[in-house]
């Protein structure tokens, strides 16, 4: 039987995973269908009661991909509870009666490159370490470029003159990545589209509203989880800043974390786990730099973020900056979240006018 590989969704990065896996393994790779209400309904039906939301989304993605014909599943997320997802997901799916191979690339709560290489070797005997490294570097470049463009979009999209021009170009840009092969082509592609994005006319006042988004990684990266909170804010005409993306997780985090804890001695002494200490540092930084508000997103029951949430109110008090906490579970309704975002927006506008 032919092997068909699949993986759970993570925001727009499915393009990168798809690129890497299909080039290295030379097998058919299918992306799970876009996350919808059905995905989360399926996921939460078979999940334990109070597991955090990413588990439910991942499980839903797997089930939908299995229905489409996938038979090799990969799990490669680590950190906190995430590192232990794989084993339970495999058990649940087996109990449901699906037939598949499951590859867990996690060892001791971190992504293990050795396990990843073994997986590639098993899928495709002809591959070698240089090929894997070449495509890995390409994938890393893709991630960095995607994040760079996204940062630009977040800053400027709210002030576009012709509505929708940014989103249109973004779609085109993402699909161009799907068919670009080779490092040079990826770099060329990036600069081409960077120019295009810069040439979109915007009308950005100097005193625009600025909001920083912090919180748990999955809710931030995967817009479906947070009901597109970020995009909604941007469309209201706000300049949104966010550090947490895959570039941060894979590359910059290890250099930042110690420095950030040292700078924020007043609030934190040790690493709180996951992104909690970085979030506290970011909240303080944006408060000093004159941000108008902070929004904290997390999935329900996220342990490290709860630790951070006990400290954030102190920063809010010391620097006089509003922080809104949003917590997402499988059964939230979007209207309630919209109302809260609108109220927050009204509040920061009024604060700015005074």
């Amino acid at each position: 039987m032919d092997r068909v590989i699949t993986f759970p969704h993570l925001g727009n990065y499915y393009i990168v995973f798809n690129y890497f896996l299909s080039n290295v393994t030379k097998k058919k790779v299918i992306c799970p269908p876009p996350t919808t209400k059905r995905t989360i309904a399926l996921g939460s039906k078979y999940s334990p009661d109070f597991v955090c939301v990413p588990f439910k989304y991942n499980l839903g993605n797997y089930i939908e991909a299995l229905e489409k014909g996938a038979n090799v599943l990969i799990q490669g997320g680590g950190g906190c509870r995430y590192g232990y997802y794989a084993e339970l997901e495999e058990e649940i799916l087996r109990n449901l009666g699906y037939e598949f191979e499951f590859y867990n690339l996690i060892k001791d709560n971190h992504l293990s490159l050795k396990k990843g290489y073994n997986f590639c070797k098993k899928m495709n005997k002809k591959t070698n370490i240089f090929k894997c490294l070449y495509y890995l570097i390409n994938a890393l470049f893709m991630i960095i470029f995607m994040d760079k463009i996204e940062r630009y979009i977040r800053k400027n999209m709210g002030f576009e003159i012709k509505k929708g021009s940014f989103e249109e170009l973004e779609k085109e840009y993402l699909s161009s990545f799907k068919c670009s092969n080779g490092l040079l082509k990826i770099i060329h592609n990036y600069f081409k589209y960077k120019k295009k994005f810069k040439s979109i006319k915007i009308n950005k006042p100097d005193t625009c509203l600025k909001v920083t988004i912090i919180g748990e990684l999955y809710s931030l990266i995967d817009a479906n989880t947070s009901y597109n909170t970020e995009r909604k804010l941007i469309k209201m005409g706000i300049e949104v800043t966010r550090l947490t993306d895959l570039t941060y997780l894979l590359i910059t985090k290890r250099f930042l974390i110690r420095k950030m804890i040292k700078k924020n001695k007043k609030y934190i002494k040790y690493n709180l786990g996951a992104d909690a200490s970085v979030n506290i540092a970011l909240a303080r930084k944006s408060a000093i730099s004159g941000c108008d508000g902070i929004i904290h997103l997390k999935s329900f029951g996220c342990t490290p973020e709860i630790s951070a949430m006990s400290i954030l109110p102190k920063i809010s008090e010391d620097y006089n900056i509003p922080i809104m906490y949003l917590s997402f579970d499988a059964e939230d309704n979007e209207v309630g979240i919209d109302t809260r975002i609108e109220a927050f927006y009204d509040m920061i506008v009024r604060r700015k006018d005074n």
């Binding site: 001791d108 002494k269 040790y270 630790s307």
Partner: protein, 306 residues
């Protein structure tokens, strides 16, 4: 006579794991231990007011105990546990304890020690740093560390021996798999234990087992499990499961590691009655007793039928 330094120990979280050690260690250094009382309604209420509502119940109770201890002692002992080496991590909650406590209570003096083997903070050296604040005699510190570790070992061994004796009895035996800070807590686990005792049932606890042995058994259950405390409790569940008549899993709402590990256990343990009890602040006694009663009835009927 010089006044003794008072060290407050909250009766929550790691108290149930390390109390014998802490008590002997700090008393040998010439300090006095002040212990908070058993968890009661007032402590829970205070803890709830102090903490984020999504935080897990033992964490709320912990803050309640610390709130009780403030102004009653000079220092409060708040350990931060990150990991004990590779594949021996603990729940992220324990990584943030010090920072959460020091931000919530500005008026208390914290005696913190940090255990993070992967970054080179070994338990002995961190404790040494703490103890040096209290007593400048280096040899005394080393001696008391050695002595109290020995005493702790002897105490644990006595508990294990008691459990081995229970295994020989012919009455109905039930194993309770849970974190020590949930099941030994008077408010969270007290009702369950009292009821089982009233029903004349022998209770075995998952934490009363040689820890290194339990970790070996946990490998049979799951190869990728990396939480030390979960490993220990699940390992002893694997070890005892053939010797007991039923297993009760007790966890609190919303416990991170338990949400995954217990679910896996329900799917993997076959041919043994299992009940899952989730405690929260509003657990009704009557509902709990009904569930336990029917569970016991079921076990006994099963036993009669061979």
């Amino acid at each position: 006579m010089r006044k003794k330094i008072k060290i407050g120990v909250p009766r929550a979280f790691l108290y149930y794991r390390y109390y014998v050690f802490w008590k002997n260690f700090f008393e040998m250094l010439g300090c006095q231990i002040v212990l908070s009382p058993e968890t009661n309604q007032e402590i829970i209420q205070n803890g709830k007011n102090l903490s984020i509502d999504e935080s897990c119940l033992p964490a709320k109770i912990y803050l309640g105990h610390i709130n009780y201890l403030r102004e009653k002692c000079d220092y409060i002992l708040v350990p931060r546990i990150c990991n004990y080496g590779k594949e021996k991590r603990v729940c992220m909650k324990f990584m943030g304890t010090i920072d959460v406590v020091s931000n919530l209570f500005s008026d208390i003096e914290i005696l913190d020690y940090n255990v993070d083997y992967l970054k080179g903070d070994y338990e002995f050296f961190s404790l040494f740093k703490v103890a040096f604040k209290l007593n400048k005699n280096i040899f005394r510190i080393i001696w008391s560390y050695y002595r109290s570790r020995k005493k702790e070992k002897r105490y644990n061994q006595s508990l294990i021996n008691r459990q081995v004796n229970i295994l020989k009895s012919t009455r109905t035996k039930i194993l309770i798999v849970s974190h020590p800070y949930i099941i030994y807590d008077a408010y969270l686990g007290g009702n369950i234990i009292n009821y089982l005792k009233k029903m004349n049932i022998e209770i075995l606890y998952s934490d009363r087992m040689e820890r290194s042995e339990a970790i070996c058994y946990a490998k049979d259950f799951s190869k990728t499990l990396y939480w030390l405390y979960s490993k220990e409790s699940i390992g002893s569940a694997v070890y005892y499961k053939d010797a007991v008549d039923g297993i009760i899993f007790v966890s609190s709402f919303p416990c991170g590691p338990d949400s995954l590990v217990n679910e896996l256990a329900f799917r993997k343990f076959k041919n043994i009655p299992i009940i899952n009890i989730i405690v929260d602040e509003s657990t009704a006694l009557a509902g709990l007793e009904t569930r336990l009663e029917s569970f016991i009835d079921m076990i006994e009927a099963r036993k009669d039928n061979g």
